[in-house]
Amino acid sequence: MGDMPLFCVQGLAYAYPDGIPALSSVDLEIFSGDRTALVGPNGSGKTTLIKLLSGLLAPKQGHILYKGRPLTENHLEESRLTMGVLFQDPDDQLFGHTVMDDAAFGPRNQGKSREAAVRCARQALHQVNLAHLAYKEPHNLSYGQKKRAALAGILAMQPEVLILDEPTANLDPGQEAVFLDLLKAFDGTLICISHDLIFLYELCEKAVVLHHGSIHHNYTMRELVSRRSALRDHGLDFSFRMAIPASDVPDANGARVHEENGPGPGYTPSCDCAKVRESHSVHPPLACMENYEYVYPDGTPGLQDFSLDIHEGEKTAIVGENGAGKSTLLACLCGLRQGGEDLFFKGTRVTKKQHKALWRRVGLVFQDCADQLFCASVKEEMMFGLRRLGLSSDQCRHRAADALARVGLSGFENRVPLHLSGGERKRLALGCVLAMDPDLLILDEPTAGLDPRGEEQLMAILDTFDKTLLLVSHDLFFIEKLTHRTLVMHQGRIIRDLPTPDFMQDDKLCRFNGRSFSYRRHTATAIRQLQHEHEHPICRKWQRCHFRQMGLERCPGQARSLCNRVLGDALP
């Protein structure tokens, strides 16, 4: 068994029932104990590959050997009990009546007695910090809790192999950190799909790059992240995220410094703050809430004594833990929920009747954009809102065409929205809203589930948006790039209202955003160093030696500036 791969894939090909090829000529070996990342743009065949590896699909061509035998009949049934597959949507996986029933499902199928299965389930629930909710029904859990409960159902089986499909998609930084710790502690074989290369860099040693259904590269993770050209070729270049504010670049003594020439490379103010401030004194706020209250139908308070001014042209971010009331606030601003009456729009109180017409002024892009796409074609989808604005057919057509061009979807008019990739769907949802020309654009977690190319495209679109923007996100990079004001929400109230640069330098930042931000910053720094070393091999040796002398192993921000200064002419 020593040198025999755990998974041996040879000449694998698979096509969907409608004949569309998903994978072709895939050769891959995964050894016991390997931690392998499967990366590639949306639609590259990653999920199909893990379904084949776990025996949920049968190969059309080629073969897959698991522990040296093909995944068929008895061996397939036995193998499934040693693998844990975590699917992207936890609702697919939580089919038990209670969290405990669900977690005990796998162990019971492994032949364990009821008591032994409950013991395994309880232990797994302890691992994911859900023991206190063991007998709750899954539909009453929050999204993050569902995701952890799904992982518990897998861990309870004590699998030899963990296969994970986007384990941290749509999780807040705190929950992501819990996942990272658990997965790091797992000592079996791990195969993980994610678009989040920073997360994968922390977790995996190997990286398999899939593109158009075949394997383009089989690297170590360090090699992958250091090769920007390969990342760019496969739509995985996330380097645009790694521009860290000047404040975070440590000096030689490890302390943070502020560069004299203004903000660092990561800071691009998207709004003319002086102009906005000037307009504050002249015009009433675009949207204003005064001592606003919202109580859910079951009596739980949603927003309490809530006051907020959003001025025209302002770009504001809202951050806060899950359950802080962010989504409730958005629903109130859009008129989808109606709380107290103290909501003003352009200085006029919004009456009960006018609440229903707020959609004309406020555009909302949902976190899961599949919830706002329901038409049979992209064209129909675009026209849905425009027709309700009472525009003529010609105006509707022009606006739809303009918006599609703006979000890079010209030519997609006859495509079915459901069949678009995640990034395309997000841009379509944004296009539908932009076409309606709202005074206030609200984005709820716009980067959730997007691959790096999708994120970059979204960023480019939003950079050109010149109206009022309200961004709800855990993504600090997007917050920093797109907004100049940040509100921190907690338990239905705003507890901090800061300029975004101040928020980014706030020492208590980690309290709101979890440890995840710290590890991301740290990992991004390490990756930048790798990329820099890869791109500038001449100075690599000198640079390492120089920084080791200073007692620093990694200091890419300084390294780059020093390289540029000292060896600038010699750089390739």
Partner: protein
Amino acid sequence: MTEVHHIQVPLGYLPLLVLIPAAVAAVAVPWLRSRFRKQVVPGSVPDWSIPPLDDGRGGLGTSLIHRWDVRCKIMTMLAYSFAVASLRHLSAAAAAVLISLAVLLAAKVSFHKVVLRVLALAGFLGMLLIVMPLTVPANPGDTLLVFGSLDWLTVNVRGIVLAATIGAKAMAVALLMEPLLATAPLPVTLHGLSRLGIPEMAGQMVLLSYRYLHVFSHEARRMTVGMKARGFEKKTSLDTLRALGNFLGMIFVRSFERTERVFDAMQARGYKGRFPEPGQLQIRMPDILLTGVWIAVGTALVWFDWMKG
């Protein structure tokens, strides 16, 4: 007793006897329903770390009904419900309601849920109480109430009694639903049904439907919000029909895709066509005794009704 008796009632009593009760019921039922749905008892967050129906470990299920074997419970309550449905007299039906109330007290089930269940029935029973007295044909010996000079508007007292009897029987059975369904976890009840001969696949489908109805309704709600956010309002128009058609189609497609993914997830965890049994069912002497007592009560009720003629 061959004649129909007419009792003249002043016209002013018409609103008092018919319109005002109907109006009060029409306002009170929705109000009570919303009130009971909203009500949150402070400090009443359950401890989810223990099974809520576990007996003897601090859970809620410590009553006799909770400890009763689920098969005996299903069979006995089913037989008793048929016995109640066969009653013909208001007094016997009222006695059945009292017995159901006593069972509710003994089972210590949630008062909120019972009220919501009763309110769900209230509309249907209210309609019976209004319509039957006005529509039951007058037989010899019946008493009709005539309001003032409105000869065409007669209320048959036998209709009132008949409606009240039907209502009481329906209420007596409905009140037993909470002790039947809320005193054991759903998987255990379905397991009991399968042991009584209901196909196991039917039980599995009910269990999955219960879980995924919540998911689908949540999805439908989010999509409705998505439509409203772009100005959708229900109107009597082709446009609304088209939008609703798209909405239903999308819900169907998404649900269909989800069922495939759920099945994949089940297979990935070793599902081979059977759910693991939720626990061992065992009939003990107290179960048989309780079944006997209950059947005796049902028999006594039927005998009492039969004695009334």
